[in-house]
Amino acid sequence: MVSSVTNLGRSGLSDWLVQRVSGVVLLAYTLVVGFYLVCGGSEITYAQWSAYFDSTFMRVFSTAAVLSIVGHAWIGLWSVSTDYLTERMMGGRGTVLRLAFQAASAVVLFTYLVWGIQILWS
């Protein structure tokens, strides 16, 4: 078994499952919001749009979508970094670049998560 301390769920299966489930959540969210936009056309006002996202259902759904984006993106970016930013590909610089890339990704995703929740629930 190959060990890793930076992947999301510490096991390949959990990462794989999180990526699939988060993908389904994001697809469902895109369809629901897309349906609202298509049905509303250009008639949607700010008040209607705001009220739509103020409902408890959309708040919970949007929070699930934000969490899904963060989880999905971390697993994807972690895979990219461990494919291309490695000692094998770029010598000794690989580990430094990989850790820097992963840290930067973590900061950006954490910021989106907190910011998103703040917008949705404040």
């Binding site: 078994m1 890793s4 096991s11 390949g12 299966l13 794989w16």
Partner: protein, 238 residues
């Protein structure tokens, strides 16, 4: 005359690899690629490649033929040229992703290391029967499409995930073999085998692009076997 472009590299004399352009009179016959190499070696004995059975059984002569991995001994020139990469020229390179030892000969140590990891032998902790461990025809049938692998490495060296992580991703060939033992009714080490595979690299670096299925000279389907392993891991853990 058949135009042939050959990957040449002798670490003792060459600074770097180069493509050698040669022409060969095939007498109008649709020879196998291995026959072409044999004829070329007749005029240039320094040409290096692996070969043994010359009938697609031993898996020694896996190479990249006009952009697609395959066995030289069972690939006719006409089929190689149909790949479309190289025009009317036969372009022969070593299998990609592993270090080249010389010309078309690659160092397969990492490939075998991954094969070794999956413990490719039957493990059974129950007392040995007097004669043999029996299987029903249905149990035996589950091994079809798995046991036929000849370890030619055409699939693993066509897989980008194996190119990037040959030391951590088992690769399609090793995983096909892993499932061959997971599916075997006589093997009792299923739990240990699955535990060894449940990390982010060994199995889950497969993104299902199916290059392995596309190139397998034996027509096997490693992607399907990897899917079965995933399902076994999933049903064990949820």
């Amino acid at each position: 005359m058949l135009k042939v472009s050959l990957y040449r590299y002798n670490p003792e004399t060459d600074q770097e690899p180069y493509m050698q352009e040669v022409e060969l009179d095939t007498g109008g016959k649709d020879l196998m690629v291995l026959d072409v190499l044999e004829l070329l070696k007749g005029s240039d004995p320094s040409l290096a490649y692996r070969r043994s059975c010359r009938e697609g059984v031993c898996g020694s002569d896996g190479m990249n033929i006009n952009g697609k991995n395959g066995l030289a001994c069972i690939t006719p020139i006409s089929e190689a040229l149909k790949n479309g990469k190289g025009g009317n020229k036969l372009v022969l390179r070593p299998l990609p992703g592993l270090p080249v030892i010389r010309d078309l000969v690659i160092d397969m140590s990492l490939f075998y290391k991954q094969y070794e990891k999956i413990k490719p032998f039957l493990q059974n902790d129950t007392p040995a029967p007097a004669i043999e461990r029996l299987q029903s025809p249905e149990e035996r049938e589950k091994l079809d499409g798995l046991y036929e692998c000849i370890l030619c490495a055409c699939c693993s060296t066509a897989c980008p995930s194996f190119w990037w992580n040959p030391d951590r991703f088992i690769g399609p060939s090793g995983l096909l073999q892993a499932y061959r033992f997971l599916a075997d009714s006589r093997d009792t080490a299923t739990e240990e085998r699955l535990s060894d595979l449940d990390d982010p690299f060994s199995v889950f670096r497969c993104h299902g692009i199916q290059n392995c299925v596309n190139v397998c000279p034996k027509g096997l389907n490693p992607t399907k076997a990897i899917g079965h392993i995933r399902n076994m891991l999933l049903s064990r853990a949820t």
